[in-house]
Amino acid sequence: MSRSMTFANRYQEHLCASLLSLLLLTGCGPATVVVEGRFPPPLIEPLPLTLGVWYGPDFAQHEFFDESKTRGQSSWVVKTGQAQIIMWNTLLAGVFEEVVHLKSAPIPGQNVPGVDGILVPHVSQLQYTIPKHTQVKVYEIWMRYRFELLTPDAQPVAEWDMSSYGKTPTAFLQSDQEAVNLAAVMALRDAGANFATTFTRIAPIQAWLQAQNVHAPGSSP
């Protein structure tokens, strides 16, 4: 009787210790946000071009990790890769008449048949703020992109940077993670809006469009 009691007590102690450790470990882990959202197609006249797109692993699996600097703050992991792919696929399908997704990275000198150009997007920077950091009641996300536009045989046509910004106010019963997700979705929408409205105004791209016999709003007649 006493042996079984001892065993039961020990079992309970182990169980409690395990649960407590699990609870503590969970509490200490970084706050993770896998960005999820729905993105509308753009309402614009598509450019009569076939664009090849290559999403490198750095882009397709993009995530941002911010380690906490103080004990009171938690570390953050913001995974945007999946949402980036969804947003850019939807956007580019509306900006260009046809989009071809490349299976491998473009190699200089190797021609990709059936495309007028190849776009390679990169996320070069991501920053975020939450009210705990700034005392301002908004969650914010900044993203900086770098785009490469290449010829079908992967020779550079243009390379440019583009920024995007998204914010969302604090809301009742909204967790930090939900608010950061919403701010990231806003930043992605902003990136799409920025790209769709400025792409044809970039000088080397205007020259490229002229070479393709494409006249677009904002490009030279």
Partner: protein
């Protein structure tokens, strides 16, 4: 004397139970439709380009619902539905800041077609926010319950600007401000007495917009 005391007591109780709110509404309308907006539709959008505040989507929704609840013949297009349908032209980065900007927008054929499909006649921009402006008091909670008293204030300031889509012109401005004090006494159980500041501002703007848009008001 007894009647006056009873009235004061009733008003004080009512005020305490709902929190006290004071509000003012100013309007300046230039070109009101004579017989309402008829078959046309209207969209109410929140301004989101300021860095330190955002017009709350809940407030935009509240104003739209206020209008349709009093006159269901008015078609109010949902904010998200509209900005999704016209993406990317009404994002914070790209949304026109002046009615003249609409001219540029309709030069885009798909945009002009979509707006014609929606029968859009008026765009109403709401700009502002509700802020908590201060608090005092203290409360202590233990297993036996909570004891103490807390109070805080909210200030709401909003401006509505009405754009006539056909004329590409601003045809009215409505501004409202509301402020109120909320209380939370706690004797074992905390009892929040929240002042409906944002709701009062919503009703103020909604009533004025209803007068503008509806033939029945």
């Amino acid at each position: 004397m007894k009647y006056a005391l009873l009235t004061i007591l009733t008003l004080t109780t009512a005020c305490l139970l709902s929190g006290c709110v004071t509000s003012t509404v100013d309007e300046m309308i230039y070109n009101e439709p004579v017989e309402g907006i008829g078959e046309s539709s209207v969209v109410i959008l929140g301004r989101r380009h300021s860095s330190n505040y955002e017009t709350e989507p809940d407030f935009v929704l509240c104003v739209g619902e206020h209008i349709t609840s009093y006159d269901n013949s008015i078609t109010v297009i949902g904010e998200l539905e509209f900005i999704n349908a016209l993406y990317p032209w009404f994002e914070p980065r790209t949304a026109p800041l002046h009615p003249e900007g609409l001219e540029q927008l309709v030069l885009q054929e798909p945009v002009a077609r979509k707006i014609a499909d929606l029968k859009l006649e008026y765009i109403i921009w709401l700009d502002g926010s509700t802020e908590r402006s201060g608090g005092s008091g203290s409360m202590a909670c233990s297993l036996g319950g909570c004891f103490g008293f807390g109070t805080w204030a909210h200030d709401a300031n909003y401006e509505a600007t009405i754009w006539d889509f056909s004329d590409r012109a601003a045809v009215g401005h409505i501004s409202t401000s509301a402020s109120g004090q909320s209380y939370m006494p706690a004797v074992i159980v905390p009892i929040p007495i929240i002042a409906p500041v944002q709701g009062t501002a919503c009703d103020g703007v909604g009533d004025q917009l209803l007068e503008f848009l509806s033939s029945e008001y």
